[in-house]
Amino acid sequence: MTITTFKLNLGPQHPSTHGVLRLILELEGEKILSCEPDVGYLHRGMEKMAERMSYIQYLPLVDRIDYLAGFFYSELYCRIVEKALNIELSQRVKFIRVIMLELNRIASHLLWIGAFLMDLGAISPYFYAFREREMILRYFEKLTGQRMMYNYFVFGGIRRDIGYIEDIEEILKILPVKLNDYERIITENPIFISRTKGKGILTKYTALNYSITGVNLRASGISYDVRNTDYLYEGLKYKPVVLYSCDAWARYKARILEIRESVTLIKQVIEYLKSCSPTEQKPISPLNLKLPEGNYYGEIEAPRGMASCYVESVGEDRPYRLKWRTGSYYSVNLLRKLLVGNYLNDAIAIAGSLDIILPEVDK
């Protein structure tokens, strides 16, 4: 008997690749023999664009690297420039940034929960998650003027002082209750468990080999979180979420727990913000912004793994070379290993559980 295999193009247009990811799968029946991720369909030349634009011009574009977590990249870019120019941030500005980052992380994780379950075929949690995400996005719109492309952080501060804190408190009050709702629908559901438990096992060793970071790594039992050493988070109590079962279910659970952790973080920050008075932060002049010659590097814990940025400056008003490291890119690479030997419908669950966002991959 001869075994015939065939190639299947999963994507670039496919409902569950979350964008334009193309996976070239070699299948035997529904069993995956090999997987070749093909990225680049959303390439916008983010790195090359930086070389043609002044620092201040590039800042609004940075939000677009990951449209679900714009604040993180914005913060990362600001952080590098601030480091190069030796700008000290006041504690209040730091904490306002923490609030924005954590709210953004919650919004991003909520969308992931919805999209992941949509991949698995559950409809309701998708809309419920979007409902809560909408509250966060509305708050962002109120404060920054836009829902996703915030452009709120500027070099040396923030655009305008935080307001509408009662909105955040409302969100924080509602969110844990709604999370319980999701968990009642999903977490212990036997079908969900059969789809995710023991599927797509990412061992510690593989995770490290493929330089996976973020929630995916923490769900594999390694407690590595950039937030532990981040200067923004100094003075905040934070417990990294670490799970040890290494499978898709753990990655789901880790994200739920992380949302809860973010809620406690924001609560701490809000308490501080209420105690201190607002400060005016003047923006630095955009006209003569030049970074001194040298290499600058910064990193941050984005929702999809560690993001880092490297800027090489030759003393001009624009970077000589800029490089982004984004978490999703490494997760896509991991598909090559994780999908092999699985069946097609598990492949969707596994690829979904890694939280891949294509603009982040292709940059």
Partner: protein, 134 residues
């Protein structure tokens, strides 16, 4: 035992979803009902009181802003090309005299591309500029 647990979990999920049947829909029927927009909203640009310094052009990431100069090098008018504009708000933020402001207008679709090119003459009252760009 396993089955009973599974059945309980499934029915728990079913009940949770059923609860939502009686909640008010969160849908907003867009053209009839609209969301309230905050003053911070970044929509269509307007200019009033420009001094022609050119900072906005320098901070614009997408090259949406251009200006016309006379022979002496004095800036006569600005053009905001909303086809290119990404509504980042840089120009508004860095404008030294607060001349640029962003309105709450966001329904900017137009059948004519020229409608999206906003031309603002310097030294002319705001109303006239607005009239011209309608």
């Amino acid at each position: 035992m396993k089955f009973i647990k599974a059945a309980i979990n499934i029915s728990d999920g079913l009940l949770t979803v059923f609860k939502h049947l009686f909640r008010k829909p969160v849908t907003l029927e867009y053209p009839e009902k609209r969301r309230e927009l905050n003053n911070n909203f970044r929509g269509k640009l307007t200019v009033d009181g420009c001094i022609g310094c050119g900072v906005c052009k320098r901070v614009c990431p997408s090259g949406a802003i251009s200006y016309e100069k006379n022979l002496n090098g004095k800036v006569l008018s600005y053009t905001f090309d909303l086809n290119k504009c990404i509504f980042c708000g840089n120009c508004k933020y860095y404008c030294p005299c607060g001349a640029i402001s962003m309105t709450k207008e966001y329904e900017l679709a137009s059948a004519n591309k020229k409608d999206l090119k906003l031309k603002y003459n310097i030294g002319v009252p705001e109303e006239e500029n607005i009239k011209e760009n309608k």
